[in-house]
């Protein structure tokens, strides 16, 4: 599964992009199954916090920094560590 992450916002407003494919990325393969993008609440609008757009096989969600926890947090940081 193809996973894309875009981080936007933050005080600096500098975007970061990352992309990976679970077929060739065993760490990612172990994480995607533990993440349910449909179960996330809408992002909070907190001044200068990061906003993350996450897309797994074409299905996307937008989350705020404070909502990142557990496997979703690991997935986001893992994919952003692999710049597109």
């Amino acid at each position: 599964m193809k996973v894309r992450v875009v981080r936007s916002g933050g005080f600096a407003g500098v975007e970061r992009h990352g992309e990976s494919d679970s077929d060739r990325d065993p760490v990612l393969a172990g994480l995607v199954g533990r993440v349910d993008l449909g179960a996330l609440p809408p992002p909070g609008r907190i001044p200068d916090q990061y906003q993350y757009d996450i897309e797994i096989d074409g299905v996307g969600a937008t989350v705020g920094e404070t909502q990142l926890s557990g496997p979703l947090r690991e997935l986001v940081h893992h994919v952003l560590g692999r710049p597109r």
């Binding site: 005080f11 407003g13 907190i46 001044p47 916090q49």
Partner: protein
């Protein structure tokens, strides 16, 4: 001295209580009430005596590179230096920003009623950010490659504290044009705190945000420029400053809450044009027009650029007269950036 008679003071006291359950309920209620416009404008803050000296009530906490707030308290108001230059710098800049709001606009802290100022430093690991979470300021140390400590720049503290002022006044929605205005107001007063601290006139100021927080070797003067949006940095690792300075370059995006850190360049530049046209110390007349517009109670929390522009013209006319040079400067600035009133 602290102003009193703010109805939510009981909630605020409970919000600092020892019982975590009670505290959370109170804090949620406070967050809700700060978002309820009608209720908020019913609050009456006792007018300060003309010579009343406002005194800050600062607390600095250390997150120890974790992402848990607020962290361990390391310094409270009047306390001795900690020896940690990051914590002590955060304490000093909070004081400077507090003094700026008192000296320039007779404002007593974030809420106008002596609210406690809480900052957490050393937040997260290699954390390239600073933010206002609705209750407090939070600062990362940077990763050392792109950014260094966010506590270093006075305008960053001015920017974050002003998010609190906005929350307690116009409460501009953090999305789209209202969100870009929220960001812009934080940049404007962030820059003004620095200008006030340095005693600079509009033509002497650098009009940069985040000067000094870019790591050595990064090509840039800062993160944003009110004087020339889009020119603050251009670096292989960081990218290029994406800010427009005029409406024809307005960026439509759903990212960054609808481009709040991008399109803020347009109202930022309008303020710069007003300040340099009026001349002198920008926090005096130009800043007063923006401050009164933000805090006057008439601005809708979903205000777009045109609504805000119209409100600044009305404020200028009320303060200086409809045909005054100051009011003409405001009209002309919005016209130059392409915002129709």
């Amino acid at each position: 001295m602290r102003c009193t008679i703010v109805p939510p003071h009981i909630l605020e006291r409970v919000a600092e209580a020892d019982d975590p359950a009670l505290r959370d309920i109170a804090r949620r209620s406070l967050a809700l009430s700060s978002g309820a416009r009608a209720e908020r404008h019913a609050y009456t803050v006792r007018p300060a005596e003309p010579n009343e000296d406002f005194v800050p009530n600062r607390t600095i906490a250390d997150a120890g590179h974790k992402e848990t707030l607020p962290g361990r308290t390391v310094r409270t108001e009047g306390g001795r230096e900690t020896g940690d230059k990051v914590a002590d710098q955060a304490y000093a800049w909070l004081g400077t920003t507090f003094d700026f709001y008192e000296a320039a606009y007779r404002r007593n802290s974030i809420d106008g009623a002596g609210m406690k100022l809480l900052s957490t430093v050393h937040y997260g690991k290699d954390y390239d950010n600073a933010f206002w979470n609705g209750h407090q300021m939070v600062y990362g140390d940077g990763d050392g490659t792109l950014f260094v400590e966010f506590t270093g720049a006075l305008d960053v503290t001015g920017h974050e504290l002003t998010h609190g002022v906005t929350q307690h006044t116009a409460n501009l929605d953090y999305y789209g044009q209202a969100g870009a205005l929220n960001e812009s107001v934080s940049d404007v007063f962030g820059s003004l705190v620095k200008q006030w601290h340095k005693g600079q006139t509009a033509d002497q100021a650098d009009w940069l945000i985040g000067q000094g927080i870019l790591a050595p070797g990064v090509h840039g003067e800062g993160l944003r420029s009110l004087k020339a949006p889009g020119t603050a940095y251009d670096d292989p690792k960081l990218g290029k400053d994406p800010q427009p300075g005029t409406m024809d370059k307005y960026v439509q995006t759903y990212r960054d809450n609808g481009g709040v850190h991008i399109n803020s360049g347009i109202p930022n530049h309008a303020f710069y044009l007003v300040a340099t046209s009026i001349g002198g110390h920008a926090w005096e007349k130009s800043g007063k027009i923006w401050y009164d517009t933000l805090t006057g109670g008439k601005l809708a929390n979903k205000a777009d650029f045109a609504a805000f522009a119209g409100a600044t013209v009305a404020t200028a006319a009320r303060l200086y007269g409809d045909g005054a040079d100051e009011t003409k400067a405001v009209r002309s600035a919005w016209k130059k950036v392409g915002v129709k009133i």
